[in-house]
Symmetry: C2
Subunit: 550 residues, 2 copies
């Protein structure tokens, strides 16, 4: 056995340091370039991907009573890959059987194995990029980043946060209590890190790796075994992840079944059956608030971490770069056709318009500015496709169609010409009781909402975040007092606020080691990636103490 902890300890220490400073850092380059990943990496990745398509996915030693696999084809390319499957009881029994040696390994051993797996996954980022692209509908550049290096960052971040927490207090101490003139009472104490038990990670359709890695790697780092339940439409990215983890585990003498795959098919999902066994001590979930509520009700004593539904907003009260603002918003609304948990949905602006570097702009001027910027951005079909990607779920098209009735359509959703696509639909909301803009409308749909003034805009955007949840909020403002007002309002609503973004940085973006993704302070979820609260309760400490021999 190699000592994987020694191999990766400098990386781990650097990651722990980055978590504390919150400055920019990543060990996993985000550019899909041969110069970084090797001249043949691109071709190798495509070849490896094509080698998987149409075949039975090989997962040596995995419990298997049948094969399943009916994944998405948002770009029109059917994967037709089958994965090993077994009933919940079989998977749980295998996970329990693997629990003891993994729980007994020390934090260093576990961290070494997980960092080795992340490093190998990083080297496979082109393959993972194609796997992510053809299951989620992301365009390749995003799929490469979100399925590869950015997800690996989040996984490393979780391992680092867990490791820091497990090693943050002494595991051995001599406790010497003075007794006045008598000899002190002296106890030797030792603490063990004890995992909670079995963990279940329920993946989502749009960001299987990015949203899945934090919970998965945090649970594994703290000694729990893991069952990975991918969305039936997006299995391959997580199947590759599970496979690599199992390979490293096996090489290091641990049971491969420390990590298992619970693949299923649309209409025959095993999620509820898994949860109803009450075998899990930890459940990580990304998806709708409706299912999250079911989960909390049925999870028994399991710890439940979620990322859920929300209504993200942009509040526009003024700008000294009108063109830059419109371009920035246009990109944010178009990127992956609004299928990011960080995509803005509602745009709040004063009904009487705003002041800008181009002079006063009426409400309709601002609307037009943004609509025009989107039209410019997406005028070329290939470029539109490379930004918007494809639609992961057919239900999204129905939502787009329904959203047209929420008010005055100021930009129609169109196809890009590639895959199952839909560019942003923009609607000036009628803004009536029970309007569609009052809830999450997942997909390429945004609503303009006319407000009394800038204060009202801030109040309404922050109020819906507090009520319905929100992961991101953006603000455009030139007045310092107004920015402070917004900072207070959005902070109270528990949502991270990006102010006056222009150029090549977007409200949608959340960087590991710096941005906590989801604050946990509003209904959009309690899984803050990655704070201590996300890792600390995944394990406990148990002591043994005895008198020191005199």
């Amino acid at each position: 056995m190699t000592n994987l902890y020694d191999r990766h300890s400098a990386l781990l220490a650097r990651a722990v340091e980055a978590l504390r400073t919150r400055a920019f850092w990543t060990p996993f380059p985000e550019v899909p370039s041969g110069k970084v990943y090797g001249e043949t990496a691109k071709a190798d990745g495509i070849a490896a991907f094509e080698g998987l398509v149409g075949n039975a996915f090989d997962m040596p030693g995995h419990p298997e009573t049948r094969r399943v696999g009916r994944e998405n084809a948002p770009w029109g390319k059917s994967l037709s890959i089958t994965y090993p499957a077994a009933d919940p009881a079989t998977l749980i029994a295998a996970s329990e059987k693997a629990a003891e040696p993994w729980a007994s390994a020390d934090p260093e051993t576990r961290a070494g194995i997980l960092l080795e797996a992340l490093t190998r996954l990083n080297a496979m980022s082109f393959l993972i990029g194609h796997a992510t692209m053809h299951t989620t509908g992301q365009a390749f550049p995003m799929a490469f980043q979100a399925g590869g290096p950015h997800a690996q960052d989040r996984g490393l971040e979780a391992v680092a946060a867990a490791y820091a927490e497990m090693t943050g207090s002494a595991t051995a101490a001599t406790w010497e209590k003075p007794q006045g003139k008598r000899d002190p009472i002296t106890l030797e104490k030792r603490w063990r890190i004890v995992p909670r038990g079995l963990s279940l990670m329920i993946g989502c359709q749009t960001f299987p790796n990015w949203n899945g890695y934090p919970g998965l790697f945090a649970s594994l780092a703290t000694g729990n075994t893991a069952i990975v339940k991918p969305h039936p439409g997006a299995i391959l990215p997580l199947a590759l992840t599970v496979k690599v983890l199992r390979e490293v585990l096996t090489e290091e003498g641990f049971p491969a079944d420390v990590v298992l795959l619970a693949a299923d098919e649309p209409g025959a999902e095993v999620t509820k059956k898994l949860i109803e066994t009450h075998a899990f001590s930890i459940i990580d979930y990304t998806g709708s608030s409706v299912f999250a509520a079911w989960l909390r009700k049925n999870a028994g004593s399991a710890l439940v971490f979620t990322e859920e539904t929300g209504v993200n907003s942009i509040t526009i009260t003024g700008t000294d770069d009108f063109a830059g603002m419109c371009d920035n918003i246009a990109f944010s609304l178009s990127l992956y056709s609004g299928q990011m948990c960080t995509s803005p949905q509602n745009l709040y602006l004063p009904k009487d318009g705003i002041e800008t570097d181009e002079g006063a702009k009426s409400f309709d001027d601002v609307v037009s500015g943004i609509v025009d910027a989107i039209d410019r951005l997406l005028s070329d079909g290939a470029q539109a496709s490379s930004i918007c990607g494809a639609i992961a779920n057919a239900a999204t098209f129905a939502r787009v169609e329904k959203a047209r009735q929420a008010g005055r359509v100021v930009r129609e959703s169109r196809e890009t010409g590639l895959g199952a696509s839909a560019t942003p639909l923009l609607v000036v909301a009628d803004d009536r009781e029970g309007g569609l803009e009052r809830d999450e409308c997942f997909g390429p749909v945004s609503f303009f909402i006319a407000c009394d003034d800038a204060h009202d805009a801030i109040a309404r955007a922050s109020a819906i975040a507090a009520e319905k949840g929100a992961i991101t909020a953006a603000l455009y403002a030139t007045d310092g007092a107004l920015i402070e007002e917004a900072a207070n309002a959005f902070s109270k609503a528990g949502v991270n606020l990006s102010v006056n973004l222009t150029g090549n940085i977007y409200v949608n973006q959340s960087a590991a080691f710096s941005d906590y993704h989801v604050t946990g302070a509003n209904p959009s979820g309690n899984a803050s990636l990655t704070d201590t609260a996300f890792v600390a309760p995944r394990f406990r400490r148990v002591m043994i103490r005895w008198p020191r021999a005199a």
Copy 2:
């Protein structure tokens, strides 16, 4: 305004350090001595206590629509103190009104105020000792320690853990992302600590301060307001605490209502009404598993921390100090008449007896050794009273009576002669299906259980801990392999294990800054005092980011 953080920052830093090293440390002397607390402290404490008895408790500015107070009198001295009371809606409105300034204060300001309050409470430890004694039934020495310095230690520990967590990662960063040959993207980021909201601390009857301070001080340190709901039988220790906190808050320019008292009377408890408002974001509870289960079901989205029911054990497989072992166990079983959450209940030993320094001892020899040691320890009425204290709750007498039917009574429970008292009842359990020893039997009751051999004894003691919960376990063994076997078994059951304790240190004792009290890894609760998981989710971080001006 004084700068209380400056005044106490060295103490705070030392406490944070102690949490990491887990070695012995306390700033609050546990000896009720005039040499430590001042020559007049004892007399002053009694005078202050007598000045409260029979009067209306003064709590300036506290919401009050009526007066309540019908506390315990386990020593026969009726307090007849009345406390201000108001309905839940009034208390919650007052708490919400006080929330904003407290949430906006920085962690240093809050820590300074809380440490000042703990320091003042420490100076009042004689008064608090009498308040604790006459509500809980503890003998004065224990009441002084458990209500005073030991509780203050736990409060300080919670503040330190919360402070360390709030300040453990940067609250400001410049995030500079390289862009190849172009200028980097540079964002300024700031994070705010945002509290969850209103917290409710539900106190217990036997250790109102010791069990109450951790949750109360952790919630306050992280910026939440707090409502303190004492057990109706033991209000005074927590009323004094609330009063001191309100005084310091007021002096420092904060609303006193950051901390409120929700006093009530037996038979008219307000706990359920408070919880059913769903106004609380955090609930801390110490008490029965039955009520804890109700709490979890009805707490809405509140974070719930509990210390619950459990079955603590002593496993006896051998000893090289039979007399010392029997004396140590005798004290552990007698101390506060088994009314500690750390008191041992079940004694597991091989049916064929054990090897000792006095030669082989049969099962009955061991039983007799312990019974005789108790009889010796409690032979003098005054000493018996100073160890056993009084019984806090009349229901305990009924449990003692019922426990006599669980098997062969080998020691009858008796009165000490002072207060409502009961010395340990010892029963050799029939050990049948559904026997009383299979559940917590709170009070001065212990069961001997005959096991096949040492391995069986370890297996049964650890199995009941895993199933029913346990906060402590003790083991007597001379064989290293057996100790290792027990270490593994109890660690898996999530219970802290004390091995071969003799002399002046007992399994019942849990020292702040070193012993994590409750592991969270079995059904006896999830509130591990004080680990990061206990403090980290009480607040969240919210960011604001903006491009750095070029």
